[in-house]
Symmetry: C2
Subunit: 365 residues, 2 copies
Amino acid sequence: MDLHREAGLKNDTLLRALACQPTEYTPAWLMRQAGRYLPEYNATRARAGSFLKLVRTPALATEVTLQPLERFPLDAAILFSDILTVPDAMGLGLAFSEGEGPRFERPLRDEAAIRKLAAPDPSAELGYVLDAVREARRALAGRVPLIGFSGSPFTLACYMVEGAGSDDWRTLKTMLHARPELLHRILEVNARAVTDYLNAQIEAGAQAVMIFDTWGGILSHEDYERFSLSYCRRIFEKLLRQREGSRVPSILFTKGGSPWLAAMMKSGCDAVGLDWSADAREARRVAAGKVALQGNLDPSALFAPQKSVREAARRVLDAFGSAPGHVFNLGHGIAPQTPVDAVSALIDEVRTYSRSHRSRMAAGT
Amino acid sequence: MDLHREAGLKNDTLLRALACQPTEYTPAWLMRQAGRYLPEYNATRARAGSFLKLVRTPALATEVTLQPLERFPLDAAILFSDILTVPDAMGLGLAFSEGEGPRFERPLRDEAAIRKLAAPDPSAELGYVLDAVREARRALAGRVPLIGFSGSPFTLACYMVEGAGSDDWRTLKTMLHARPELLHRILEVNARAVTDYLNAQIEAGAQAVMIFDTWGGILSHEDYERFSLSYCRRIFEKLLRQREGSRVPSILFTKGGSPWLAAMMKSGCDAVGLDWSADAREARRVAAGKVALQGNLDPSALFAPQKSVREAARRVLDAFGSAPGHVFNLGHGIAPQTPVDAVSALIDEVRTYSRSHRSRMAAGT
């Protein structure tokens, strides 16, 4: 892995762990680490005027991407962006109303619109994301790797068909059961779009990529394979694997994916993200050192006093064990109400405890 | 199983399936089968004036309990009631505001209230539920068995601490991480209360009982065992097992419980309910004919045309296979928007397809 260092990366712990290679401690980053629990994030967002403006302005996106690294010794930065940039570039019209979630002005409701759907050209239509990747890489100056990301084809389809978030995704599910061929058509386009989008991020400088399958967990066992995992597999087949002389690892995370971890591990990704319901010991056994694992602390553990936070971190580290191939993370995005001091305690404990554990192992005690 | 028939039960298919004994077809019932998708239910509810009035009036609860049996050849009735009757009887003050979910007027927020919490005496404080069980049994006159139920100790605690439903259960989770001993105290009381409540239902005539662990799925792997399953196990140890000369089987359902099915199967219940994320083939393999399984059609499959509904039903039946010990159900409660005709098609298909499949097996074809 000297390649990473030759490429100017001062801390390649994340990349080594994702390659199931030994590390001096367990690397850590947090899903949604650049987010509303940070006062400086809220200040930048206020300055931007809106969430979408923040996403679409590379200088501001870079600013918030780096903010958590100033506070905590994290082992990765993740590009600040939104999973819905891709359907927005497809012409669906993304909007965020204050206090509510995302909404599409033109959801996919009729067959004609679905037949016309096409994958966007990232350099032409998602240039602001690629600019943000380039600018964040420059600003990071090799401190830690930059993770690029996308929503999964299925998760994007959920919003594209439903038009917004949902408790039961009834419109989407009705299409799935009544007109599965229409949903498959959307998913095919999405798989091409996500492949192009992630490859463009890699070419712009993303050193690892992650697919967020936020809503795969709403599917039945058989439907998860048919409507979500099979399309992720197509993406992993076509992702660029090398860049700047280094391997670019890929991570697949399905919220609620615990029943399907073994299948996810065989999908062609380098690492599987676990939500907090997953049995880390069992997942490690199934992964057998061939696929790395990322996770999986319950984000709500951060609402407790620091002593409890540290205990919770140690329990997660103990469950994953000290064999190579674990990246510490939460099992879902960090909550906006999370106290910043709890995050400090968490990251400190992960670093300290995993390092001392490795030392004890090395000393044979 | 002649015992059931001697006891006057005309259709004991459910009880035989729950005992992993052969049946002529796969018995079926639906979670929330007496509910808002039925116009006659809405009429009775309107007549009652409120949901709580419906729950608290044995004659009306009996009426809606039997309504779905008039429409569909179901193999069980489930008592119409609400899981929050128990904390209401503990003095928390249950209220339903129109269009919103349940709310407690006096949620458990301070240590003194938690220390004072006590399990209610069902015959004194939940008499209306036991009266409804007795009245429903009389009205059923042995057509099909009557299932009694309760929320799990953990699921009840979720509402008792949070005071209402929640997206993130932050108050509850903060207690879990910061003051676990307080949550354990609530769970101990709840386990006693649920045991007494289910045993009182059995004594009043419930021929099977089910524990709904609706929120167990929000827990981490380790916390599920510590805060939910261990308390269910205590209940199963103390449930009455025989009544009227028949075994009274118990069913445990955790929404989102797929990662923990093996542990659930060893908890002392007779059957495990599967949500739609569960892999039925794998669950059958793990159950090994020792524990029955119930489930697991995605309720949203009922939004599709009847041809798709029938196909979906066959896929579930094929996944469970024809060995004894499967009770057909949805993977979650039926949605209020479900078309009644879709339910007719579903129940017809389950009966017809599973019966013909068994005939083919018997004929060796």
